[in-house]
Symmetry: C2
Subunit: 259 residues, 2 copies
């Protein structure tokens, strides 16, 4: 089995924004589907892992884009595993025009595996006798020329972030009962005025998933413009108990560029 797989899709009209460019959230869906298919084809799919009480958990994702695929374009996503550590594995993506080879951008993701009965992390190096190591393509063999996720400090009240209440709804919830990882991206972009998308495009988007949110968790979305970078956080249980600032659910960062 090859270490890299390629998955294709067409940018259908109902998946582009008002500027004719693919929604970032839909691109995120395609990246996660490519990850799922690549894992499945090598015996490490969520459906196969569920049978042995394990599942993949997305921990971090960063996407860096030179430009965004447009309506009717044919896009291919290459994906491969860059590294495997005890508790995490890094999976990378290349996003390319399938007809002319133009590279739209790259993405990186970090995944953990958890035991669904104990909710504890599994040791990736020993699971299935370390079979996953057979699929690693090092950064020297297959470079991914974008920086890894850069951790940022949580927002503090003295930064006076904008705060938007957000109650998860039916369409936000995935098959595990959690707020869908891609819906966080959609909610984040929805707080920007649409004019932003006329004059700017997303150059870099980072997101870290800290803990799960359920449909019963009212969320707050915090946003702060810090020197041209937007820092965003989803929090739950705000104002309750010992942690009045709430519990960090996800943390994101957007860098826009003028177009």
């Amino acid at each position: 089995m090859e270490k890299v797989s390629t998955y294709c899709f067409t940018v259908e009209p109902f998946y582009v924004d008002f500027t004719g460019r693919l929604f970032l959230s839909v691109l995120g869906n395609h990246l996660l589907n490519a990850a799922g298919n690549h894992s499945h084809d090598r015996g490490w799919g969520i459906d196969q892992l569920n049978e042995v009480h394990y599942t993949w958990v997305l921990s971090r994702m960063c996407i860096e884009l030179y430009d965004m695929p447009r309506q009717y374009e044919h896009v291919e996503i290459e994906t491969w595993v860059e590294s495997v550590m005890k508790l995490f594995t890094e999976r990378n993506f290349l996003i390319r025009n399938a007809d002319n080879g133009h590279v739209y951008g790259y993405a990186r993701s970090v995944w953990a595996m958890i035991d669904t009965s104990t909710r504890r992390p599994a040791n990736l190096l020993t699971l299935h006798d370390g079979d996953i190591l057979r699929y690693v393509l090092s950064a020297e063999e297959k470079p991914c020329p974008i920086e890894r996720f850069k951790a940022v400090s949580p927002l503090t009240p003295d930064q006076q972030p904008d705060t938007i209440p957000l109650d998860p709804k039916y369409s936000d919830i995935d098959i595990n009962g959690h707020v869908n990882s891609v819906k966080y991206i959609e909610h984040i972009l929805d707080i920007f005025p649409v004019q932003t998308f006329e004059t700017h495009q997303i150059s870099r988007f980072d997101i870290a998933y800290k803990t799960e949110a359920f449909v019963t968790d009212p969320l707050q979305l915090l946003c702060k413009n810090a020197d041209g970078e937007y820092h965003l956080e989803f929090r739950k249980n705000v104002g309750s108990g010992k942690r009045p600032d709430g519990e960090l659910v996800a943390q994101a960062r957007i860098i826009w560029k003028e177009q």
Copy 2:
């Protein structure tokens, strides 16, 4: 060219709800994509029509489902044109499991064509010398065993419908700058408690698009349970000018069944 075309898709994990069933809004996207591809393959695609200043406008859609495709299932959508009148054409859909032929349900849609320079409807019978008539498959030749859209009266204040404010956001807006036809479906289902989807499934969903809404139009979503059927309306310009009840943007009806 055959009169019927078939388009396939796989129910990917990120497009199913918490019960493991395809989101109705995503099914709606696939129906519209099938319509777009079927038209395009016969020279009547939106991209081809735009060059001659025409475009398709979706007027009505009804979907009737025996059950809903589930995660990882392969689905095929057959679509064909049932009739062409001067100002409208009817397009039908059959939704089927691609592996075992199980029929999930059917859908009907009604489309108008407008001249994008004058915003007036075009005469489908004379456009391109009536070429579209070559693709008609009558109800006798290819039955679609669900009822046509049933018009319902607009809700009145004395019915005391629930009213939910809804400000269109970036992710709601399509390439024409309007609220995306499928996003209305998503917003409608989001007003139901998630428990509804545990005990019930959608048996029938009808929607009629009356006028466009833009990102600058604050909307109201009205909902009334009328003898087990839910009647829903999107209105804009509520409380303004001569029409304090606002202008009807879209009208929908849902029938649930216990599962």
